[in-house]
């Protein structure tokens, strides 16, 4: 029987090792082994423990109101 060969994808034994001309560039290898991480879930509010600590410092007189307001603005959300 005459057989018309098909083109087949190459693969690797331990999984889908993609071939790009037979090799990865270092950048491609790094990208494959470090898939992009999903963005962190946005927090609903500022870090409550930091706010509690600042509130305590304000209440105990360690911070002035202006200092407190400035530091609260810097607490990441």
């Amino acid at each position: 029987m005459l057989l018309v060969p098909k083109q087949l994808l190459r693969s690797g034994m331990t999984g889908n090792v993609p071939y790009y001309g037979g090799r990865f560039s270092p950048a491609q290898a790094y990208a494959v082994s470090h898939p992009p991480q999903p963005p962190p879930r946005p927090a609903d509010a500022k870090d409550s423990s930091a706010l509690d600590a600042l509130r305590h410092l304000l209440d105990t007189g360690v911070l002035t109101q202006d200092e407190y307001d400035g530091l609260v603005a810097r607490v990441p959300t």
Partner: protein
């Protein structure tokens, strides 16, 4: 199913010693590999590939699965070839029997399942590993390795 390797071995004439099959049988009995199918083909001077009867040493009926995996009968070839589906594949990422078998040669094309590799692949996947390179050491490098291993 474990990963399946394709071995294409060219011969001047499509004859086998039973030795290769005996080795494959030993590996199969040890649970290491399984010979799924064996196709024997001849590549003519005009480049066409013809399937041949398997040698008498092997089980009759072998070769049908492999023929379907690697090609299609010339008289059943449709106008739309499977190549179109691979049009976007990166250069060097595909192959075919026509690439592998020299003109004027016969070849045995073996489909070999590596039974040992399935659990390893699963373990790699579970660990979050990503295979980025996979190859064999060249014979010269194997000699270097052997010499290093022989050092006290």
């Amino acid at each position: 199913m474990g990963p399946v390797q394709v071995l294409v071995i060219a011969f001047d004439a499509p004859t086998f010693s039973g030795e290769v099959l005996a080795e494959l049988t030993k590996l199969r009995e040890a649970g290491i590999v399984r010979l799924i199918d064996l196709l024997v083909v001849s590549r003519h001077r005009d480049g066409t590939i013809e399937t041949l009867e398997p040698p008498p040493e092997v089980e009759r009926g072998l070769g049908k699965l492999a023929a379907l995996v690697f090609g299609q009968p010339a008289d059943e070839q449709s106008g739309a070839t499977a190549d179109a589906a691979l049009a976007d594949a990166p250069e060097g990422s595909t192959w075919s029997l026509a690439d592998a078998i020299p003109v004027g040669s016969a070849a045995a094309v073996a489909l070999i399942e590596h039974l040992w590799a399935a659990p390893l692949s699963e373990a790699i996947r579970r660990a979050g590993g990503t295979p980025v390179e996979e190859t064999w050491l060249a014979p010269g490098d194997v000699e270097v390795l052997e010499a290093l291993m022989a050092e006290p």
